[in-house]
């Protein structure tokens, strides 16, 4: 029986498939549809200090092989998360990673501290990458210094594993990744959604009430996969891949590119059974190929590429 557990600094997951923030709510919403025993962990909806109403509808639009969402971080706020949502989530038979987002380093500090001190929270994920909220020209996810400030603040508030979720919407993810790791991140999620839009030709209006939203799903996969390849070569903390993963093959591409675990989001909507099928498929692939641990896959494509390059050089 292949060993499918994977380690994210300070946290061992029974398998590398994690459900992505915002796609399973706080967890119980999907309890009838997903067997949580089959997934490594879930990341709860990103919460903010105060409750947020979110963006005006429509908030969703389908695109070719993708989905745009402009939820606008609707969430119940820190207080209700701690008092209502987290205790419910804690009952689920999986690990809970709490996602938080603030407007300032101080808010990140408060949020990370408050969720991090709860036993039910096994790790804190900080979301610096939601394209639906901030609108500055150089947003924090593209700004190594801003990122370092936020991560430093969150790091000071909790000893739990601290995961930083990056954005694909930058020309220089390496500098941001290095800043996050330098400031104490234990792991990185690579990456969140890309900004995108659609126009509803009948209404002659942007399909989303917020005009633009975040692109997720299959369409996003090659973009985020390239970033995982890049980041995982440059930092020495685990990278969790995210973006369009729907099948075991997709997940294996991310692992071979250098991811230590993967997050599945949009694929749940078409098939809530996707995470279990992915876990099953990875295990089958290991069995067929005689792999004993997940580690044998992590970064395999880089090793093979290296081998080819050396072979050609030697010829």
């Amino acid at each position: 029986m292949p060993d499918i557990t994977t380690k994210i600094t300070g946290l061992t997951l029974r398998n590398p498939v994690v459900l992505a923030s915002g796609t399973v709510g706080y967890g119980p919403e999907y309890a009838e549809l997903i067997d949580y025993e089959t997934v490594g962990a879930i990341v709860t909806k990103t919460i903010t200090r105060e409750p947020r109403e979110g963006n005006p509808p429509p908030r969703l639009a389908e695109t070719h092989a993708g989905l745009l969402n402009a939820i606008g971080l609707e969430n119940v706020g820190l207080r209700r998360f701690l008092s209502e949502k987290l205790p419910e989530a804690a009952e689920l038979p999986t690990e809970i990673i709490a996602s938080v987002a603030g407007g300032t380093p101080a808010e990140f500090c408060e949020l990370a501290g408050a969720v991090g001190e709860r036993d039910a929270v096994r790790a804190v994920e900080i979301n610096i990458s939601c394209p639906n909220v901030r609108r500055e020209r150089r947003p924090v996810w593209d700004d190594p210094e801003g990122t370092a400030a936020v991560v430093t603040a969150a790091r000071s508030a909790t000893k739990k594993p601290l995961i930083v979720k990056l954005s694909p919407n930058t020309a220089d993810i390496l500098s941001v990744a290095e800043a996050a790791v330098g400031a104490g991140a234990d792991a990185l999620v690579v990456a969140n959604t890309m900004p995108g839009m659609r126009i509803d030709l009948e209404k002659r209006l942007p399909a989303l009430g917020n005009v633009t939203g975040g692109l997720s799903g299959h369409a996003l996969m090659p973009i985020n996969l390239a970033l995982v390849w890049k980041v995982s070569a440059a930092v020495d903390v685990p990278v969790i891949g995210s973006g369009g993963i729907a099948t075991a093959e997709d997940a294996l591409e991310f692992l071979m590119a250098g991811a230590t675990a993967v997050q599945v989001g949009t694929a749940l909507f078409l098939d809530p059974g996707a995470p279990a099928a992915i876990v099953w498929g990875i295990r089958e692939h290991m069995r067929m190929n005689g792999a004993e641990t997940i580690d044998e896959y992590i970064g395999l494509a880089r090793e093979e590429k290296q081998r080819c390059t050396e072979k050609i050089a030697a010829d």
Binding site: V24, G25, E29, G54, R59, E62, N69, F269
Partner: protein
């Protein structure tokens, strides 16, 4: 329950499922859907060979409230909106409640003849078309208004159809002091309340169509903003 919907994986090429109202429950573990061809999802469904299988999630969402005992339920459908009310009508008829069903469309072609609830003792069906090609000429809301002038012991208006029609139906009902429940449509991802994607604006903030709805008391809705403006 009438008002609930199922979430259908129409095609593996699509990212999202497609929600459809339960339009009838002919027998155990079986249900009718009435599907209007709109885009790729509904087209793919229509192309399925008879007997092929699709993945269906549900039934999901809340349902319509029963009317006062003995009073007449007034069902108002615009176009394919009849799909959202058909099961309700059948259940009312089955329970022996008087039902007035008003169905409107732009033209005669918009009226889905064979798909109306099975005619029966307790049901009165009236049609309207904007162009007068069948039934009363005018909108179904005008038809509703004229009926509300004279119907005896009306209980409640149940409406399903395009946004503008719902807004108007709700206004007509309210003018006559009648409660009105509407079945709303929004694009959905999860169908379970998890993703917060399918919200509509209400007096108590954004509510999800998939889990707080799809049936809403019209008095609670803010028809401004969003598609219901």
């Amino acid at each position: 329950m009438p008002g609930q919907f199922v979430h259908v994986a129409a095609s593996e090429e699509l990212t999202l499922r497609r929600p459809f109202s339960v339009a009838g429950v002919p027998r155990e573990r079986s249900l009718d859907l009435l599907v209007e061809l709109r885009g790729k999802g509904t087209r793919t469904l229509a192309e399925q060979a008879e007997g092929s299988s699709v993945s269906v999630m549900g039934p999901l969402g809340n349902w319509f409230s029963p009317p006062r005992e003995g009073a007449t339920a007034i069902l108002v459908a615009g176009g394919i909106g009849v799909a959202g009310l058909r099961y309700l009508a059948e259940e009312f008829v089955h329970d022996g409640r008087p039902v007035l069903l008003l169905v409107g469309a732009r033209t005669r072609e918009g009226l889905l003849d064979g798909l109306m609830p099975r005619p029966n003792g307790g049901i009165t069906l009236e049609l309207s078309t904007d162009d007068g090609s069948t039934g009363t000429a005018g909108t179904v809301c005008e038809l509703l208004a004229s009926h509300l002038e004279r119907v005896e012991n009306p209980a409640r208006v149940y409406a399903c159809g395009p946004p503008a029609m719902l807004k108007e139906a709700a206004a007509v009902a309210l003018r006559h002091g009648l409660p009105c429940e509407v079945l709303l449509e929004e694009i959905m991802a999860c169908g379970t309340g998890a993703c917060r994607g399918c919200v509509v604006n209400t007096k108590h903030g954004y509510k999800t169509v998939c889990s707080d709805g799809p049936v809403f008391d019209a008095a609670e809705l803010l028809f401004e903003g969003g598609p219901y403006a």
